[in-house]
């Protein structure tokens, strides 16, 4: 069988096809946008996720916009242990010094931790006193709605 040169269209087809194109749109290369979805309360699982987050920031060399969507049992990530008693249906509060130090470090790197109002209401959590470092701007009405909208805006979805 004779040797075949691979068909590399760019060599001869492209000039012809420029005249043939019917439509085109330049695609810009924006920084990656990613949302991590955390709804579980196992502390080592949470820490693992935060690790991966940081790895991702390093891998992208800062050209990345990262959000963390917390709801349900995931609120435990920011929940102060003292606050656990007056909440409903929360098994764990993982907001100890070590965890919160990690969270703050990530916040310094530009990560935003979003909190779902549906969840805080359901679990009788006051987001501004029971959770660590939450701004009104971090509150969203519903986690699932938010995750949907973010994906529609092109965010990449990660469920650790």
């Amino acid at each position: 069988m004779c040797e075949r040169t691979r068909l590399r269209p760019s060599h001869w087809l492209a000039p012809v096809l420029f005249t043939f194109a019917l439509s085109a749109a330049a695609v810009a290369e924006p920084p990656a946008r990613v949302v991590y979805h955390i709804n579980f309360d196992d502390p080592s699982h949470q820490i693992n996720a935060l690790h991966n987050l940081e790895n991702q920031i390093n891998a992208a060399d800062g050209r990345i916009k990262l959000l963390v969507m917390l709801h349900g049992a995931g609120l435990s990530l920011l929940l102060y242990p003292e606050a656990l008693d007056h909440t409903t249906g929360m098994r764990l509060a993982n907001g100890d010094q070590e965890m919160l130090a990690r969270v703050d470090h990530l916040r310094d790197l530009g990560v935003r931790f979003l909190v779902a109002a549906n969840s805080t209401r359901r679990h009788h959590i006051d987001p501004f006193s029971d959770l660590h470092g939450v701004d009104p701007g971090d509150m969203v009405p519903s986690a699932l709605l938010e995750l949907t909208q973010l994906q529609q805006q092109g965010y990449i979805y990660i469920k650790p």
Binding site: R8, S23, H37, G72, R122, Y157, K159
Partner: protein, 240 residues
Amino acid sequence: MSSSNDIDLNAYVDGELTPEERLEVLDALQHDSELAREACELNNLKSQLQLAYANPPGLSAGNIARRGPSLLTIAASIVMLAVGLLGGWLVGNEQAPKDRLVLLDPDGRGQAPATAESQETRIVFHLTTPDQFTAAELLDDVEQMLDTYKEEGKPLRVEIVSNGEGLDFLRESMSMFKDRIHEMSQRYANLTFVACKNTIDRVEVQHGVDVKIVPDAEIINSGVDYVVKRQQEGWIYIRV
């Protein structure tokens, strides 16, 4: 060399046995937990493989833009143009939008135009946990979304797929949400509950029980396969 046992088990997992053979294997599985575990692992292997190749580079959306129809069809269509028989050569893929020919940059990569896909929002929720709170919250949030979208006149389609540890959610004998599931199924035509047959089979074999799924739910072969397929079709994916 593979033993004939191995081959039978593989054939069982691949759905290649006759009904009688299948029953024989099922029987063997019920008496041999080691064998049952094997079958489980083979199943998992299948799903793992499908997941591993769901999004190979060159196909995944967003970063590397899709190429248009095969360049040879384009080349051929140039010829056809010359002959005056343009016909259906420009539309290679039935699913593609009409104007699929794209400008090629010097690397031979296409810059695909923004596609005008359907305006319907389609979401598949993947329930893989037995946690009741998660399930309750899921139903609450989904219901809220369904109502909101309806009020705003925005088309929405939702599927809730239960597999693995999340299957109890749809089991007649185990689900704490049967009434709610039924009520929501009636109220929302755009909501569908889906149960995974692989998980059903696995539970039946491992616990020696008959699994009955709530009548409102549909049953598909593989939950993982299904959610992967949905994503390939452009559905939004959320796992709870």
